[in-house]
């Protein structure tokens, strides 16, 4: 298809008197990963629920693959994959049975469930009931379920939350493969490292509004400070000097320290997404 896979304009939603989403707008192109960052209650999940057809927007327009999400068209759900934060799997069914069941809801007659499980490293546990799986394995099952219909758009809610680094890296690799295949990915996460590494662009959402939307690099350049940290021997101890790169005389001072015989290390210092979020909203992402 041509045009954005996800297109959102002035989208709003309220739970009674509480306005959870206050007129947000963004686009995600096919093959792009958009990191949706914000603390709990910021409006991330509500936005995903609207985009996946679970909630009907109060106002605004949201299109996924050109389909207006408020029309309740099953053609929308046929082409999306959703990975929820809660592990809502059928625990008494095997991994393969879980995937086969969801595939049947998409009308897939002969699903290649084993291949999908292989991608997340669970092919050898295909016949085991999910209740015997560890937390990490269940999370991989959640990811594989989201892939079962080869979706054009993926909604991934905290896909690596609470996982060990190896499993997280494996899942990130799989998500990247999906994007390379051409799927648009809307990813919510608390993990700044993950957002930075995986996302082509990042949207900061706070109190129902998008406060910043750009590539991680541009956000850092725009809102962060650039500096260099120099470590020097100081008698028996270590002395650190931080030099802002944009400040007057920084270059001369850096050259001087670099020439010092006590020089130990020089590191570039750049703002993290977390720091930028705090700078923009006055609150942390974990809130």
């Amino acid at each position: 298809m041509t045009g954005p896979a996800i297109s959102v304009e002035n989208l709003r939603f309220s739970y009674g008197d509480l306005e959870a989403v206050k007129g947000i707008g963004f686009e995600v192109q096919p093959g792009e990963i958009l990191g949706f960052l914000g603390p709990n209650g910021a409006g991330k999940s509500t936005t995903i629920k609207m985009l996946t057809g679970q909630l009907t927007p109060k106002s605004g327009v949201a299109r996924v693959l050109g389909i207006d999400v408020s029309t309740d068209d099953p053609a929308l759900q046929a082409r999306i994959g959703v990975c929820f934060e809660e592990k809502n799997l059928y625990l008494n069914m095997s991994a393969k049975e879980n995937l086969d069941f969801y595939a049947s809801l998409f009308g897939i007659k002969d699903p290649d469930s084993i291949e999908v499980l292989r991608r997340v490293g669970l092919a050898d546990r295909a016949k085991d009931r999910v209740k015997t799986f560890s937390k990490g394995m269940r999370q991989r099952m959640m990811i594989s379920r989201a892939f079962i219909n080869k979706p054009d758009v993926l909604f991934l809610d905290e896909p690596t939350d609470g996982l060990d680094p190896v499993t997280s890296a494996s899942i990130r690799k799989t998500i990247r493969e999906e994007a390379e295949r051409g799927a648009a990915v809307l990813l919510t996460t608390h993990d700044m490292f993950e957002a930075d590494e995986l996302s082509d662009r990042v949207a900061f959402i706070n109190e129902g509004r998008i406060v910043a939307l750009d590539t991680a690099e541009n956000l850092k350049l725009k809102y962060g400070t650039r500096s260099v940290k120099v470590r020097l021997r100081d008698g028996v101890g270590v002395r650190e000097e931080v030099l802002p790169l944009d400040g007057d005389g920084s270059s001369a001072k850096l050259a001087e320290l670099a020439a010092s015989p006590d020089l130990m290390t020089i590191h570039t210092e750049e703002a993290t997404l977390d720091q930028i979020f705090i700078q923009l909203t006055g609150r942390g992402l974990e809130g």
């Binding site: 996946t52 057809g53 679970q54 309740d72 099953p74 053609a75 759900q77 046929a78 082409r79 999306i80 959703v82 929820f84 809660e86 809502n88 799997l89 059928y90 625990l91 008494n92 069914m93 049975e97 069941f101 969801y102 049947s104 809801l105 998409f106 009308g107 897939i108 009931r129 379920r145 219909n149 080869k150």
Partner: protein, 415 residues
Amino acid sequence: MSRPISRPAIVWALLKKELTAYSRDLVFLALTLVVLVAVPFIFHALPDSVDESITLAMYPSMAEMVGDARDALIKMGATEEQLAELDDIDLAAEEEGLALVEFESEEQLRSVIEGSLELWETEGGETVFRDKEAGDEKPKDAERIKPDIGIAFPDEFIAGVAAGKRDLTVTVYSQAGIGEEIQTAMQSFVREAAYQIAGRELPVGMPDEATIILGDDRVGDQVTMQERMRPMLLFMVLLMETFSMASLISTEVLQRTVTAILVTPARVSDFLAAKTIFGTVMSLSQALIILAFVGGLTATNWSLILTVLVMGAIMFTGIALFVGSAGKDFMGQLFYAMLFTVPLLIPAISVMFPGTAAPWVKVLPSYPIIKVLVDATVYGGTWADAWGMLAYAALWLVILYFAGLFALKRKVETL
């Protein structure tokens, strides 16, 4: 690659999943097996016959009474033909289920009926009295006889009647615990017996039999405990299935697996349809299996029983939908399940006992279901008899099913 999928195909996929989830849950399986095994077992352990006999105590003995009468009638100049009629008098022989015990004194009869004196019959047919308070030993190899009713005729009763005396009094003794119906029936019997002995109608009106016998006259074919329990057991199967179904729904809601279903082409209506079909089919199939074990289907009542069972299954599925969506955890679900099922059980218990159910019991949703089941399986009720109750059941079915549907739909949509 996925392709557009039809709604029936989605419902079918959901049904297959329901069956897998049901068969994998040990609690549901255990409940089902317990019902399928225990219910027929309970049914066959129940008495399949009714002791219909009533023991009647009598004073004086029939032989003595007839002997006295014969002497008196001869003195009065009775013909041989009239005397021959005395030989035809036999109270016990003409009344089905009546056992006659004759006493030598009215006081003795009264004491036995009262219980202060025990009457025993030995294997040899000899009757023995035991005064327990006087310290009499219990007779060996003997069976106690407990007369329900005693009749004491006045001296020279037959002769007196024959002479046209009107002030003759027949005394009927009955135990305090004897039911009103039996007392009334026995008074009728005594009047009839007196009529037979006297040879003319006594100046006492006979009660209308319709007021004593409700429905079909089942003399010699009384309702056994098995028959009474059959509809109750079928009802219990439906009720047990409500627990399983509610639990299945509750698990789906609490574990949010339903949310994952609803981000596929499946819709809430598909989910509800699958739950309804699965719940109804499970209840109905178990009820039919039980019915096969305990009997009850006949060539005339099978369509009525199947119809009312289908209605009951849908009604209970509606309740399961409500209970499953209301409970926030296992205890909550159990609470709601009890809240609904205990009142629904009351009509099932009330119909086990003869008599008319209290008006408030008739208002309960399960009453028309169990009433039709009882009438059809026990009293040979037909479609013509059942229309009113079926309409009433249908009304409750619509209310309960749509209440359950609404509750679950709302729950699922707000997850």
